[in-house]
């Protein structure tokens, strides 16, 4: 509950601080506020209490995902805080919008009512439409913002339509109510109900950029500033997948034979398009966009399993993916800022320009591949393990083949950074905020390996 109050208030404070003479204080204020929110969320662990008359509930699941989202937003804000030669983006206003969007993310992790799901999606998305076009004079940024807005609005429409159909079929908005209705009406074969469920699935698939609803992703990721792309590919995606899992697990567990095959189909298609697409990319942000699509595929596999073990696996996968992706975009922000092109080849010679950045890039890419002992490995291990336990052998074999393809494209930036000499040889001086972000993410990637048992038990 306190998060529902703290985060919007913080967002408003940060936005208003911009108007007055306190502009220098906005980013520190945002960071301090987010640290407080982290503490607040962590303190709430284990206190399962419904709030807002049963519209939301901060159970272990909601708390764990809220924590992840808050930390990832904090890291994005830290990236904004890095002093930069170019002042083409309004950094302090962006911090306020990020926190506002985070509020929606927390709602998506904790909702127990479809109305809250819709509100969460909207609060999460609308600030990001603005953020994607943060570079006002930039045509690509404007294109990204418009594309994201049109596609996002369309997806929200579908989602809302699905919610309406479910309500028409069941007379319920709350997840528990829908569950009770489908248990009472055995088989839950009501056509409105089934159609509504299908629309809900498609609407959420849009948000996690699962194929065939992925086509906006590369263009939007490419056009938006790196900080915003980092936020979109971590917080927005994870909030959506958290909402997805909560929806399926709490409201539709019995309908798994109905939606199971759709998810399998979506996962297979997403993995195929994500991985093959990534192989063909020459630009780093587009590569990461397709990487994000392929990881949406693995996350969809994680959705197939139910229960607390599955939730833990999903969290570990999402956390490892987010930490590695954050590292990638944090490093890329440097190249984008310096205008050194958008190709993967821009990394050439990074080893001699900044060994720290080169090591961080290597760790992030190896984690995305799934090399132990990094977090990405444990994510894959538990997600695949759950799927094998359910007997989805063919799906896992397919996912394994796709992971092997991942080696070929995730190594390309690493090869450039480590094995090639670049044309640009200027040393990249380290900055405090950037080092903090990269260190936190790298520690997290290793810490996930040390403590997966602890995390799995927290749900």
């Amino acid at each position: 509950m306190s998060l529902y109050i703290l985060l919007p208030v913080l967002a408003i404070l940060v936005l208003f601080a911009n108007l007055g003479r306190l502009k220098a204080l906005t980013l520190p204020l945002a960071i301090v506020g987010l640290v407080a929110a982290t503490a607040l969320a962590a303190l709430g662990f284990g206190l399962n209490h419904p709030i807002l008359k049963g519209m939301a509930e901060f159970d272990g699941y909601a708390t764990a995902f809220s924590l992840l989202l808050i930390v990832m937003t904090g890291l994005s804000v830290l990236l904004l805080a890095t002093p930069s030669g170019s002042t083409d983006i309004p950094r302090s206003e962006m911090a306020g919008l990020l926190i506002l969007s985070l509020t929606g993310g927390v709602m998506l992790a904790s909702y127990t009512n479809l109305v809250m799901l819709f509100l969460g999606i909207e609060i999460l998305s609308i600030p990001v439409y603005v953020l994607a076009g943060a570079r006002k004079g930039d045509a690509a940024g404007n294109e990204a913002a418009l594309k994201y807005f049109l596609n996002g609005a369309f997806a929200t429409g579908i989602l809302l339509f699905g919610i309406g159909l479910i309500y028409a079929g069941t007379g319920q908005f709350s997840l528990d109510g829908i569950l009770q209705w489908s248990q009472a009406n055995q088989g839950s074969n009501h056509p409105l109900f089934l159609l509504g469920l299908l629309f809900l699935l498609f609407g959420l698939a849009f948000k996690v950029s699962a194929a065939p609803f992925h086509f906006w992703t590369p263009d939007v990721y490419e056009g938006a500033p790196s900080v915003v792309t980092a936020y979109m590919s971590t917080v927005v995606k994870i909030a959506a997948i958290a909402a997805f899992f909560r929806l399926l697990g709490r409201a539709f567990p019995a309908a798994s034979e109905r939606w199971g095959w759709i998810l399998v189909l979506l996962a297979v298609l997403t993995l195929l398009i994500g991985n093959l697409g990534a192989l063909a990319q020459g630009g780093f942000k587009r590569l990461m966009a397709y990487s994000g699509i392929s990881h949406a595929g693995y996350l969809l596999i994680a959705l197939l399993a139910k229960g607390s073990m599955a939730a833990g696996a999903l969290w570990i996968y999402a956390a490892a993916y987010a930490a590695a992706t954050m590292i990638a975009f944090a490093i890329w922000a440097r190249f984008e800022e310096a205008g050194e092109g958008d190709r993967i080849e821009a990394f050439a010679g990074l080893r001699s320009r900044s060994p720290f950045l080169a090591v961080a890039l290597g760790v992030a890419m190896l984690s995305l591949v799934g090399v132990p002992p990094l977090g990405g490995f444990f994510g894959k291990l538990f997600v695949f393990g759950n799927a094998v336990g359910q007997g989805r052998i063919a799906l896992v074999v397919f996912a394994v083949v796709m992971s092997a393809l991942g080696v070929a494209y995730y190594m390309r930036p690493v090869i450039q950074a480590w094995f090639h000499e670049g044309a640009v040889k200027t040393v990249l001086p380290l900055r405090a905020a950037e080092v903090t972000v990269l260190t936190i993410c790298m520690v997290a990637l290793f810490a996930l390996a040390a403590t997966p048992g602890l995390l799995l038990g927290a749900f």
Partner: protein, 482 residues
């Protein structure tokens, strides 16, 4: 605790070494490998009889999934750990002998690789095994990609994609077996040995493991990465790949494949035997056509590995014994030969066979050491290579004379190969373009140690055989072949 030390000293030390300056890093890494070797030798010296696991360590890691951080040494692990800790110093010597390539990062990566290898041989839990399996791969990829030859980037990428793809299939196999272990499910070796897989699925899961191990060894037809990678990698990397990393595959077969899928393997045994034997003949024939020394060693190594695999696949006590002896024999001789090739290359300016001949006139001791190493590779009686190959062929001949004859053909071709090489490079008229040279103490020491080790093991293999016997017995009991 001892086992953990064998991993932590090189791993933590390797990371530390990377932050030092070159001269300090060289000394520090030398001390670290020496300490690691001493710890392992102490473990060997205090070894008693019996098959029991020693120096075990078992910590809960992910209790909900039955994963425990479980390590330990037995009669199969210890010989390979000893090989690792004794060959890694040689890799460091090779890495440090070329002044233009000296780098703290290189030393650190070699140490990290040592940690990974020891971990692979000591792991008693499938997830821990997988973890070290990959930990051993990443350093050698960076060694080959960073310090390798002109075509290193595509060649090492192929190597990486190939091996990681294999590993991922193994990971799938591990997860599948886990789903069929007895309750409470787990990843421990004992859980895997008692898992009851559905009969129709077992061959496929066997294949998932086999692909990973076959790529690592490599076994025909998964060998296409090998010759290019050995050729492009720096000498220290090729040495680590050939002497140590190739053994991971065979060890995996003996520890994690045959005892877990005995029935499925029995059905497909002829196929596995055939792949091994094809490799023996194929490898030595292609090796005969090579004029680059590193490529020749790669193909000869492929041929030797084929014989080791075929002997182990013959599923007998003698074959397993032969596998253990030959893993050590081959590890020692191939490490020495890669060092010798690197010395040859730096002293004569190239490594094409026949470009320089009569090198024995310039340094007789070097020629003698080279011949000793080559003879062990050929398998001359009284060398370790003979002890190993004899046992392997004996085991094959029990399955059928043709298997043994095909394996023996490879040995004959191997003899032709190495004797020709000796004749063309070391005998003949004095080379005018090469001046007389001396070996550095480290070079002479390493070559001498490896050559001598091969002879000691060949003359008196009994301690090794006694050490391995109880464990091999126990493994064969699980397989049901005893």
């Amino acid at each position: 605790m001892v086992t953990l030390l064998l991993i932590l000293i090189p791993l933590a030390g390797g990371l530390l070494v990377m932050t030092l300056r070159e001269a300090a890093a060289r000394i520090a890494s030398g001390i670290l490998v020496a300490v690691t070797a001493l710890v392992a030798l102490w473990a060997a010296a205090t070894w008693g009889a019996g098959a029991a696991l020693r120096f075990g360590l078992c910590l809960d890691w992910v209790p909900a999934w039955g994963i425990s951080f479980s390590l330990g040494l037995d009669g199969l692990s210890l010989p390979l750990v000893l090989l690792t800790v004794l060959v890694t110093p040689v890799a460091l010597i090779v890495a440090a002998r070329r002044e233009d390539r000296r780098s703290p990062t290189l030393y650190g990566l070699i140490l990290a690789m040592e940690a990974g290898l020891v971990g692979v041989f000591a792991a008693r839990d499938a997830i821990v095994f997988y973890l070290f399996w990959e930990l051993a791969l990443v350093p050698v990829y960076f060694i080959a990609g960073f310090w390798g030859g002109a075509k290193r980037v595509p060649v090492t990428l192929k190597f990486l994609v190939y091996t990681v793809a294999g590993s991922l299939f193994m990971l799938f196999g591990i997860l599948y077996v886990h789903a069929f272990t007895l309750a409470p499910r787990g990843f421990s070796l004992s859980a895997f040995y008692t898992a009851t897989l559905p009969a129709e699925a077992a061959p496929w899961i066997l294949a998932a493991f086999a692909v990973a191990f076959a790529i690592k060894m490599p076994l025909f037809p998964f060998h296409t990465w090998q010759s290019d990678t050995y050729h492009e990698a720096p000498a220290s990397g090729s040495l680590l790949l050939a002497a140590l990393m190739a053994k991971m595959g065979l060890y995996g077969v003996m520890r994690w494949m045959l005892p877990v899928f005995p029935t499925a393997f029995a059905t497909w045994q002829p196929l596995f035997l055939a792949l091994g034997v094809i490799g023996v003949v194929w490898g030595s024939l292609v090796a005969l056509a090579q004029d680059d020394m590193k490529r020749l060693l790669a193909w000869s190594s492929f041929s030797h590995t084929g014989l080791m695999a075929a002997g182990v696949f013959s599923l007998g006590f003698i074959g397993f014994q032969g596998g253990v002896v030959q893993m050590l024999a081959h590890g020692l001789s191939i490490a020495g030969l890669f060092l010798a090739v690197d010395i040859f290359e730096t002293r004569t300016g190239g490594r094409r066979i026949g470009a320089v001949s009569g090198l024995a006139h310039r340094n007789g001791a070097f020629a003698v050491l080279f011949v000793l190493l080559a003879l062990s590779a050929i398998g001359l009686p009284l060398t370790a290579g003979f002890a190993g190959e004899f046992l392997l062929l004996l085991s094959l001949s029990k399955l059928g004379l043709w298997w043994a004859l095909a394996g023996g053909l490879g040995i004959i071709l191997g003899a032709v190969l190495y004797l020709q090489w000796i004749r063309r490079s070391f005998l003949g008229p004095e080379p005018k373009e090469v001046a007389a040279f001396k070996l550095k103490p480290t070079e002479a020491g390493a070559l001498g140690f490896l050559a001598l080790g091969g002879i000691v093991l060949g003359v008196y293999p009994k301690p090794l055989l006694e050490l391995a016997r109880p464990t091999l017995d126990a493994l064969l009991l699980v397989i049901g072949a005893r």
